[in-house]
Structures are given as structure tokens and as C-alpha cells.
């Protein structure tokens, strides 16, 4: 064989052949990588529970699971208001599209009735469903992954003891490429950290318990931590503030306390009742959270508060709230304020009907944008009808968009020393699409 033959084809033909070979090689490598990737991301389906099997559970386990599910706020994302608990179908808006909370009742066809405990645990820890499909991290398994086996079992026992509800949840509305579940595997590679939470020996038992609850089932960071472009929590800015259902979740780290210094006792009170004398009331998605926390033991809430307050350790002293500055020439909006708001918010006694406080104390009014103020006015605080709770009327039917915007600006000017908001009209228009009072 001539050297030439071994060395390769003659120049022109040789190059073409080289390319084809490279392409072929490239394809093979790509296929191998893809195969490796697929092999790596692929999860097997876990066998369905046999038909007509019932999950037997100890009563105490069910009760414990209920408490944990309450801390985890599962019912909030997995229930449509007015429909049975955990039956799913609630739309969750994300920057990537709308995801619908799944049906967690033990219905075999539309819920998790065929899921074994192993399947449930895998979902909580790894974000994979029974059939092996990737679950979108709108389901915060990046937090739930820290839950212990026992706790996951209790939650499973509890969920499987609920009445089965047949409810086919709508398909997610995610545009390409987000509708390709496999992509989530890549996301997980970057952002899912599954190392368990080891207790900090320098901290108290209570602090560690609080950390377990907050970082784990409580998934507070899901709302209170800013997210990057791929929708993952920014690890370097934990608890620096975030967004939930278009409401602003204020920071829990040192940057919060510039205006509102929380002690552990105050925060415990706030988290279990939804109200604190110096800070006001929990509204929006936080109202659901405190409603749930109000049902678990005070010890658990105290532990949560202990940990959360520690996040702002070493912060500077708070500045005092701003004063009520009556505004000349405010126009007819003053009459609207007097008729709709002052009755509660301007009591000569300091605390008005339904425990309304002066708006000088309101986090919403002091915030960097109008998101919370607009939504508080439009939708009030309305989850009080069955078991009581904090309250504010919803003004979405009472006032027009223009009036709500004017009122929002008025309240900002009167009760805050901060610069005027410039996003008010846009925020009102956006909030209009988010719902309506009953």
C-alpha cells in the first residue's frame, strides 16, 4: 500500500471524505452524548399501586402529615378556590408560561392514587413523577428535597387518606422549548442541590428546627429570593426579596430591617395570626401562608421565626416610619379616601376596625414599587369567611382603574417619604387580569 493510500485520500477527494467522516464522527459523538444524556436523565417509571389497594396509615401519622403539609402550604398551589382541597387545577403564572398545580388526591386516573410511597418520595426529592417524567421546578423540590424520609412518609400517608377527587388538570401552557420536560434535567444539573441539611452545631436546636422548616417544606426562598433568567433562586442573594403571583415578597435579610425591625416574638405573632401591631397585616400569597402557620403548633412557628430573624442578624437600626402628611390640592381622591379607607385606617385610637393600622406602617406603601399596594386595594384580604382572620375589603368592583391608581398614588404621597411610583397605571392594568372578588 502506498503511503498516500494510508495517509488518506488525495487532496480534493480527501477533504470531502474528511468532512463526511468528521460529520459522521460528529454525529456518532453527538448521538453518544445524547444517549449518555438521555441515559443520565432518564428515570424509570415506578409501578402503579395495584387496583383497589388502600393505603393504611396510623392516625397519628396522618395528623402529623397534615401539619407538615400545612407548613408546606401544599393546598395553596394545588387547590382552586371553592373546589376540594388538593384537587389541583390552579394556574401558576411563571415567566416561562402557565403551569397548573396537579391533583394530589388519591384518584387513580387524574390524581396520585396509583403512586407508591417510593414514587412520592422521588418526586419530592428529585422532581420526577411516577412515570419518570421531569417535573417543572414551579413545584419547589429544590426545597422539598431537604425533607426527611419520615416527614415525606407522613405527608404521603396524609395525602393518600384524602377523598379522591376526579379532576383532570388542564395541560400546562408553556411555549417551546419550555414544554420539553427533558430540559428540566439540565436545569436540575445546575440548580438542584440535594446535599441534605446538616444541623449547625453552633446553633440552638430551635434554630436548626427553624432552618429545616424554612429551607425545606416551608420553601420561603421560593418567594423571598430573587431568581435568575432560568428561573432558579440566586444562591448569592438568598432572601433578598422576590415575587409571588405578581406580589412583591419583601426581603428577609438585612435589607428589610431598614424600616421594620422584627423580634422573634413579633414575627411569631405575625406568622401565626397574620397581624402585628407595628407592621400591619399579611396580604396576598402571604395571607395564605400565615393562615396555615396559624394552624401548626406555636413551637414550630417560633422555630421558623427564630431562623428567619437570624437572617438579618447584624443589620442596622430601623428608621422610624414616616408621618401622615395631609396634601393640599389632592382633589376628589381625598373624598374617596375618606369614604373608603379612612374609616378603618385613620382611627383616632390608632387601631381601627378589622385591626387596620395607619398606613405609615405599611410595607406595601413603603415598597420600591406599587405592586402590593395596588393589589391590596383591588383584592383586599378576603380569606376570612370560614375560620375568620385578617380582613380588608376588596375595591375592584367599588372603584374604577383610574380611581384605584389615583388612590394608590395618593396613599404613597401621603404616607411615605419615598419617591413617587411611576408604574401605577401599568400595575393596575396588570392586576385587573389576575382575578376578581367573589
Amino acid at each position: 500500500m502506498s503511503r498516500n493510500a494510508i495517509a488518506g485520500p488525495a487532496s480534493g477527494d480527501g477533504q470531502a471524505l474528511m468532512s463526511v467522516r468528521n460529520i459522521a464522527l460528529g454525529c456518532v459523538i453527538a448521538l453518544l452524548v445524547l444517549a449518555a444524556g438521555l441515559w443520565w436523565v432518564w428515570r424509570p417509571a415506578i409501578a402503579a399501586l395495584p387496583e383497589h389497594s388502600a393505603v393504611l396509615a396510623d392516625r397519628k401519622n396522618i395528623a402529623h402529615g397534615a401539619d407538615l403539609a400545612t407548613v408546606g402550604n401544599c393546598a395553596d398551589c394545588h387547590t382552586v378556590s371553592g373546589r376540594p382541597l388538593f384537587s389541583g387545577g390552579r394556574p401558576l403564572p411563571t415567566p416561562f408560561g402557565t403551569i397548573y398545580g396537579s391533583n394530589l388526591t388519591p384518584d387513580r386516573t387524574t390524581g396520585i392514587g396509583a403512586w407508591s410511597e417510593e414514587a412520592f418520595k422521588r418526586a419530592m426529592r428529585e422532581g420526577v413523577d411516577r412515570k419518570g417524567r421531569q417535573l417543572y421546578p414551579a413545584f419547589p423540590y429544590d426545597h422539598f428535597t431537604f425533607a426527611t424520609d419520615d416527614d415525606i412518609r407522613s405527608i404521603y400517608d396524609f395525602l393518600m387518606s384524602r377523598p379522591a377527587v376526579e379532576n383532570q388538570v388542564p395541560a400546562n401552557q408553556l411555549p417551546f422549548p419550555f414544554n420539553i420536560r427533558l430540559m428540566v434535567a439540565g436545569w436540575k444539573l445546575l440548580f438542584l442541590h440535594q446535599d441534605p441539611l446538616h444541623p449547625e452545631p453552633t446553633q440552638s436546636e430551635e434554630w436548626n428546627r427553624g432552618r429545616y422548616l424554612v429551607e425545606g417544606l416551608g420553601h420561603c426562598g421560593s418567594c423571598h429570593t430573587p431568581r435568575n433568567m432560568l428561573g432558579a433562586e440566586k444562591r448569592g442573594q438568598r432572601y433578598a426579596g422576590g415575587v409571588a403571583d405578581n406580589w412583591r415578597a419583601p426581603p428577609l435579610d438585612a435589607s428589610l430591617v431598614k424600616r421594620h425591625r422584627w423580634t422573634v416574638d413579633h414575627l411569631t405573632e405575625y406568622l401565626s395570626t397574620g397581624w402585628d401591631r407595628d407592621h400591619g397585616v399579611a396580604a396576598g400569597p402571604m395571607a395564605d401562608v400565615v393562615k396555615n402557620l396559624g394552624q401548626v403548633s406555636q413551637d414550630e412557628v417560633h422555630a421558623i421565626a427564630t431562623y428567619v430573624v437570624s437572617l438579618s442578624d447584624g443589620a442596622e437600626q430601623p428608621t422610624l416610619p414616616s408621618a401622615d402628611k395631609p396634601i393640599a390640592d389632592a382633589g376628589s381622591i381625598v373624598a374617596v379616601y375618606d369614604g373608603a379607607c379612612a374609616r378603618c385606617h385613620n382611627s383616632g385610637r390608632g387601631v381601627g376596625p378589622s385591626n387596620a393600622l395607619s398606613l405609615t406602617l405599611s410595607t406595601a406603601v413603603q415598597g420600591p414599587n406599587s405592586a402590593n399596594a395596588v393589589r391590596a386595594i383591588m383584592y383586599g384580604i378576603q380569606d376570612y369567611r370560614t375560620h375568620g382572620g385578617p380582613y380588608m375589603p376588596a375595591f375592584d368592583r367599588i372603584l374604577t382603574d383610574e380611581q384605584i391608581a389615583a388612590l394608590t398614588r395618593y396613599v404613597r404621597t401621603r404616607y411615605s417619604d419615598q419617591p413617587e411610583w411611576t408604574d401605577v397605571e401599568a400595575e393596575v392594568a396588570k392586576a385587573r387580569h389576575e382575578g376578581s372578588s367573589p
Binding site: N346, H387, G388
Partner: protein
């Protein structure tokens, strides 16, 4: 019997026509516009106190009992119309006007039909007899041959004379005759029939005048700024903080009574809210978490032994086994949907007060006392308000308006706010109950002993807040209502002792609230009965049948009907396999039974409640309720049904959700978000079986069915889950704690 009509007396008709109705001839109930009333008798033994017939045959009933939305107006009209044989269409009622109606006592206690109805029936029977005597003379016929229809008396020969011709506008001048026989029930045409109430159409079309709608010429508005804590003293008032509110007129300050008078209703609201005041600090209430310790530690000033059979102390000591339990029942507020309202007007030193008080004759005395006026100078006129379910804030609103009107020199309307009503209306007192029972070696119950820790006092006047705040004369009474009722039990054991330990004080001003005492006491008793049955592994229904008086035919029949209607399956409570604690579902179902013979002497009620207990979340849902009800002769079955529906729904709400919240200074549950009540999505289904006994006495129906609801629910929760709920309300935290303690 004197049948002569005294023609020299003032024409009752003239008095009647002077009572021009300014606003609605609703229902037909006529509220006076306040003209000077012509004197008419109001003595309880005179027919003229209750009835008048004008020269057109219109019949007016004057009664001290008032319709609070309960339907007694039509019921009492049915009684009169039946006895007199007049059409309902010619009847109208004047209620609760102290100048025109007899004092038949407050409208409470399920006594309107039972007691007042009996009196009115007697008055009507007396009147009828006298009219027939007259007619017999006029028509020269025998009285016994006469017939009456539609107010027309007919003789056998066809000649007729009307009531209008016989008496038209004149007085009867007759005492109530106990021998005047009422009509035989077998001849009833309207009593016992579901005659529609006449006020409802007006209420559905916006034409009804509630006290809240009542207006007087020149009327001003007022509100009262009450202390932020009970017992706090007013220190400073900054009038400048409200001077610029449109409609503001003046402050009225008298001791700790601080009121405002304004030209408009909204100004009264704004001023009350914006007025800057400072008050001293005061902390007179116990901590809510320690309420029951506080009750138990309160000094007992006397014991009311409500039943004593054999020797209970000795029997307890000798008993082979004993069980005991403690039950408690929180403070509740009346929670009237329409907060209290009153209008007062002074003219020539005389006060007229338009009020929805259920006891206008008593209120009149209280106002006279407070203002140091002679009784004749005070007139209270009843105008219907929202349902009050007992002594709520109406009397206090009346006192507020009277004080303000006296100073303002013009009529003043006071409309209480929601916080006024929730915060300041008198409350159902907290009840603490200890129960003990003993068994012999064969498992027979040998002794039942109970102690009820409840405040002293009865159903007298409740001090007016305005009098207390301004330091004016008042009764200085604690009046929680007749709350010893049903502390004794309808069951027979060899040794029984039931004792009400009357406490010197109670937190928050008390008054009676629907089924006062009888609800709380029946709760303790009927749950403990179930505890005994469970200890003996007996069916709760059979247990009750076994131990009630064997000769109580009506009680036994009621329980058997309850068994039928509820399809009650025999067997001890909570005996199903799930008692083992291993479950496939966290929603457990159960049913409970309860029974009462109201005050041991009247209305019988039996109830079965079906519940679902969510052992994960601690929620209790009442899904279905069966009620069997025997109140003797039923005047209007729709009215009885409505009262039972109302009692059951309202009491389910009280049992599952309600509790007055308070801190060391004051009530803190001041709105519907801090004092939630039942809403539509939580309604149970309700099946009612009414037993009508036309030949028996009519007994009350406004309250008895409420008495059995709390225990039926608690017993059902036990059946479902094995957890005993001994503390009302059955809020989630308590349910979870009870479940965990098994």
C-alpha cells in the same frame, strides 16, 4: 258576668284613629308616630287592654309581646281571629308601646305563644262571650243558637248583627273571665294552619319600616365614643380633630359618656371614628387563655340546688367505679345583623323613645330611672329591628339616644356601629360544668351529680351602659337570664343532685342569649349521658329510653319517632373497626343523638346530627340534622318550622365557630372577621318532624330545639373519631388536641 258595655267611657275608636300610622300598616302592625296617646286601659286583667273593635269591624290586638322576626305577630292574630271568628284581614296589632299595651313581660323565653298567647286567647274568649250575650239580646235568640263567621253573628232565623254594630269603638269594660271557654280545637279554622306572615312581602319589596328606617321631623344623628377598655376613664377630648367634618354639631360629655351629635348619619360615623381622645389605662378582664381558671376561682355567693334525689355524696363514695368530666361553653355575642338603633325625642319634658327592645316596659322604667323622670313621662314604642336573640344592644342604644336628645333639644337617632354591637352588647355568660357519675358492681348507674358554675342573677334589667358611663342611676343588677334551666335532667337514677353555683361576678356584662343556660346545661348533661352510655357500651338512644320517666308517653314517642326518621342503627357509639386507629381515610363520619324536655316541663325535642370529622385538619362539618319536635298545639306550623331551622343553623354556628375574643381590657372580636359565623357553604341538610297536638296546650318553640344541638354534634364527633369535645366552640385547634389525646 257583666256584659254591659260602658258607653260613658272614652271611645277606644277615637284613641285608635288618633294613632295615625305614618309608615307602614305592615303586617298589620301599627307603630305610633308619637301623638299623645289617649288613655286606654293597660291592666293585665282587662279585655280592653288587649282588644278593641272599631265601628268598621277592624280588630286591634294590643300586646306587650313583640315580633322580633319570629312570627308571633301572625300567631297571636291567628289566636284572636280564631276565638272571635273574624277574618285575619281585619286584624292589626299594636306591639310593645308602653302607653297602649299591657306589660306582659319581656319577649323572651319561648313564652310568647305559651303564656301571652294563653292570656290573649282568654281575653278574646271573654270578648266573644260578651259579644254573643249582646247579640243574643239584640237578636232575641238563645246564645247557644248563635253562630259567628267573619265578625257577623247570625241567629237561626237568619237575622244578623256585626261586631261593629255591637261594640264599634266602645270599651268592653270587662275583666278577663277564666270561665269563658275558648273554642274547641276540633273547630279550628286558622289556628294550626300555615297562614303566611303579613310582614314578609313588605320586607321583600323594601317597604317595611324597621327601627333603622324610622325618622322624625328635625331629627339629628348621634353616636357614642366608648372607652377603649372597660373601666377606663375619659381624660382628654380634642374637638379640633373633628370640627371640620361636614355635619358636625357638638360633643356631649357627661362623666365617661362621650357622645357626638351631627346633622347626618355619615358625619356621626366619621366623627366617632376620627375624634381624638385619651383614656386612662384599665385591665379588668382575665386573660382569655385562663378564663376557666378565673371562673373556677370566682367566689360563689350561693348554691341553687335544682334537683336532689337520695344521697348523692354517699352514693358517690360507695360507687364501685366513677367517671367524671368537665365541660365548658364560651361567651357568645348576639351578633344581630342590624346593629342596634333607637330614636329619642323630648317634648315638654316628656321622652318618647322608638326602640326595637324586646322589653319596652322594662326599658321605660330604666330610662325613667336614669333620667330621673317620672314613669308617666317616658314612653317606649316598639319598632321592629333585626333579630336580637335576647337582650342585645337595643336598650343601650335607646339610652344613648335619650341622653343625646335631652342635650340636643331635638330628636336624635343613634345607630350603633358593628364594633359597638360586637363589643358592647351584653354577652352569654361563660359556663363551666363538672359532672360525676358512679356505677355499682353490676354496672348500674347509682348516682349523677353536677355542678354548674354560672353567674348570679336572673332575667331582670341589664344595666344601661350610658347610665354606667355617666354615673347616672341604674339598677345595679347582673342579669344573665334564667340560666339554671335544664341543669336538672329528665333521667331517673337512684341518687341525683344538680347544683348551680352562683358566681359573684362574670367577665363582661351578661344577658340572656337564645336558650340561655338551657343550651349550656343541656350540652353538659346530654354529652355526659353519652359518656355513661359509652362506658356501658350501650346504644345512646336505648340508654335514654331506659332512663327517662317510664310514664312520659310523649317523650318516649318522640324518641321512637326520632329513631325512625333518622334511621338510627342500634349500637354503642364509636365501636366500629376504625376505633383501632389504623385508617384509610382522614374524613371520619359519625352521628350523635340528644334529647331535651325543655325546663323539664314543656317542649320536647330530639335530634340526630351527622358529622364528618377531618382528622388531618381538625375540621368538623355537620352534614345532616334530624329534629323531632313536640310543642303541643301548634298555632302556625310555618312559624315553628322557621324557628327550628333558625335554632339549628344558628346553634351549629355557635358550636363550631363562635367565641368572644378579648384581651385584658376589652372585647377584641369586633367584626365578622374576628367573630365568624356560619355561611352558606357550610349548611347542613335539615329534616324536621313536627308533632302537632291540637288538644294539648301550646308550648314555646323559639328556643328549645337550640338546646340539643351542641351535644348532638359532640356526640357525633365522638362516634366518628373517639374524641370527646367538651369545650364549645369546636375550633380546629381543640379538635386536633382532642384527637391527639386519645
Amino acid at each position: 258576668m257583666n256584659s254591659r258595655f260602658d258607653l260613658s267611657r272614652r271611645d277606644v275608636l277615637k284613641a285608635g284613629s288618633a294613632m295615625v300610622v305614618a309608615f307602614s300598616l305592615v303586617g298589620a302592625s301599627r307603630s305610633s308616630a308619637g301623638e299623645d296617646p289617649v288613655a286606654k286601659p293597660v291592666d293585665l286583667d282587662q279585655v280592653d287592654s288587649f282588644l278593641s273593635i272599631d265601628d268598621k269591624g277592624a280588630v286591634t290586638l294590643f300586646t306587650g309581646k313583640v315580633d322580633l322576626g319570629t312570627g308571633i305577630r301572625i300567631g297571636l292574630q291567628q289566636i284572636v281571629a280564631e276565638e272571635l271568628d273574624v277574618p285575619l284581614a281585619v286584624m292589626s296589632t299594636v306591639e310593645g308601646d308602653t302607653a297602649l299595651t299591657p306589660d306582659q313581660g319581656p319577649t323572651y323565653g319561648s313564652q310568647s305563644i305559651q303564656i301571652a298567647g294563653a292570656t290573649i286567647r282568654q281575653a278574646a274568649a271573654t270578648a266573644r262571650s260578651a259579644l254573643l250575650d249582646q247579640a243574643a239580646q239584640r237578636l232575641a235568640a238563645a246564645k247557644t243558637d248563635l253562630t259567628v263567621a267573619d265578625g257577623l253573628v247570625s241567629a237561626p232565623d237568619g237575622r244578623r248583627v256585626s261586631y261593629a254594630e255591637l261594640i264599634g269603638g266602645k270599651s268592653f269594660s270587662l275583666k278577663l273571665d277564666p270561665l269563658a271557654a275558648p273554642k274547641n280545637p276540633s273547630l279550628y279554622k286558622v289556628v294550626g294552619k300555615p297562614i303566611p306572615r303579613r310582614d314578609i312581602p313588605e320586607k321583600l319589596t323594601g317597604r317595611f319600616t324597621y327601627v333603622h328606617d324610622f325618622r322624625r321631623p328635625g331629627m339629628l344623628h348621634g353616636s357614642v365614643i366608648r372607652p377603649p377598655a372597660l373601666g377606663a376613664d375619659l381624660e382628654t377630648v380634642d374637638e379640633n380633630s373633628v370640627k371640620n367634618i361636614p355635619g358636625y354639631l357638638r360633643i356631649v360629655r357627661d362623666g365617661n359618656f362621650l357622645g357626638v351629635v351631627t346633622e347626618t348619619e355619615w358625619a356621626a360615623v366619621r366623627v366617632a371614628r376620627e375624634l381624638k381622645t385619651t383614656w386612662s389605662k384599665s385591665a379588668t378582664l382575665p386573660e382569655q387563655d385562663r378564663l376557666w381558671d378565673h371562673v373556677r376561682a370566682t367566689r360563689v355567693i350561693k348554691d341553687d340546688v335544682t334537683s336532689n334525689v337520695g344521697d348523692s355524696e354517699g352514693a358517690l363514695a360507695k360507687a364501685k367505679t366513677r367517671i367524671s368530666a368537665t365541660y365548658d361553653f364560651a361567651m357568645h355575642t348576639h351578633g344581630s345583623i342590624g346593629p342596634s338603633c333607637a330614636i329619642s325625642e323630648f317634648k315638654d319634658g316628656k321622652l318618647t323613645c322608638w326602640t326595637a327592645s324586646q322589653a319596652t316596659h322594662n326599658l321605660r322604667k330604666q330610662l325613667a330611672l336614669m333620667l330621673s323622670l317620672p314613669l308617666e313621662s317616658v314612653r317606649c314604642i316598639y319598632v321592629e329591628g333585626a333579630g336580637c336573640y335576647g337582650r342585645n344592644g337595643h336598650e343601650d342604644a335607646a339610652a344613648d339616644s335619650a341622653l343625646l336628645a335631652q342635650v340636643a333639644g331635638r330628636p336624635v337617632r343613634v345607630q350603633w356601629s358593628r364594633a359597638d354591637e360586637h363589643g358592647w352588647d351584653p354577652k352569654g355568660a361563660p359556663t363551666l360544668i363538672d359532672l360525676k357519675a358512679g356505677f355499682d358492681e353490676r354496672g348500674n348507674i347509682t348516682v349523677w351529680q353536677s355542678d354548674f358554675f354560672i353567674p348570679q342573677g336572673a332575667a331582670g334589667n341589664v344595666d344601661l351602659i350610658a347610665a354606667t358611663l355617666s354615673g347616672k342611676p341604674r339598677d345595679n343588677l347582673i342579669s344573665p337570664g334564667g340560666i339554671t334551666g335544664d341543669s336538672a335532667i329528665p333521667y331517673q337514677f337512684p341518687n341525683v343532685k344538680t347544683v348551680c353555683r352562683r358566681l359573684e361576678t362574670t367577665p363582661l356584662r351578661p344577658s340572656w342569649i337564645r336558650t340561655p343556660g338551657r343550651m349550656q346545661n343541656t350540652f353538659g348533661n346530654e354529652c355526659f349521658v353519652d359518656e355513661l352510655a359509652a362506658a356501658l357500651k350501650e346504644d345512646p338512644l336505648e340508654f335514654r329510653l331506659k332512663h327517662i320517666d317510664a310514664t312520659d308517653r310523649r317523650g318516649r314517642e318522640l324518641l321512637e319517632r326520632l329513631r325512625d326518621i333518622a334511621a338510627w342503627k342500634q349500637g354503642p357509639a364509636h365501636s366500629k373497626p376504625r376505633a383501632s386507629g389504623i385508617l384509610t381515610s382522614s374524613i371520619l363520619k359519625g352521628r350523635g343523638i340528644s334529647y331535651v324536655k325543655y325546663e323539664l316541663v314543656r317542649t320536647y325535642v330530639g335530634i340526630v346530627a351527622d358529622v364528618e370529622v377531618d382528622i388531618g385538619l381538625g375540621d368538623v362539618r355537620v352534614t345532616k340534622v334530624f329534629v323531632v319536635h313536640d310543642c303541643g298545639q301548634i298555632i302556625n306550623p310555618n312559624g315553628v318550622r322557621a324557628q327550628i331551622e333558625g335554632s339549628v343553623i344558628q346553634t351549629v354556628s355557635r358550636v363550631l365557630k363562635e367565641e368572644v375574643m378579648f384581651d385584658r381590657g376589652m372585647v377584641t372580636s369586633l367584626d365578622w372577621a374576628t367573630y365568624p359565623i356560619l355561611r352558606f357553604p357550610e349548611l347542613p341538610e335539615l329534616v324536621i318532624d313536627l308533632i302537632d297536638r291540637p288538644t294539648e296546650k301550646p308550648w314555646g318553640a323559639g328556643e328549645p330545639s337550640a338546646a340539643v344541638v351542641p351535644s348532638a354534634i359532640s356526640n357525633a364527633i365522638y362516634d366518628a373519631s373517639g374524641a370527646r369535645l367538651r369545650s364549645v366552640p369546636f375550633k380546629r385547634a381543640k379538635v386536633k388536641a382532642a384527637l391527639q389525646s386519645i
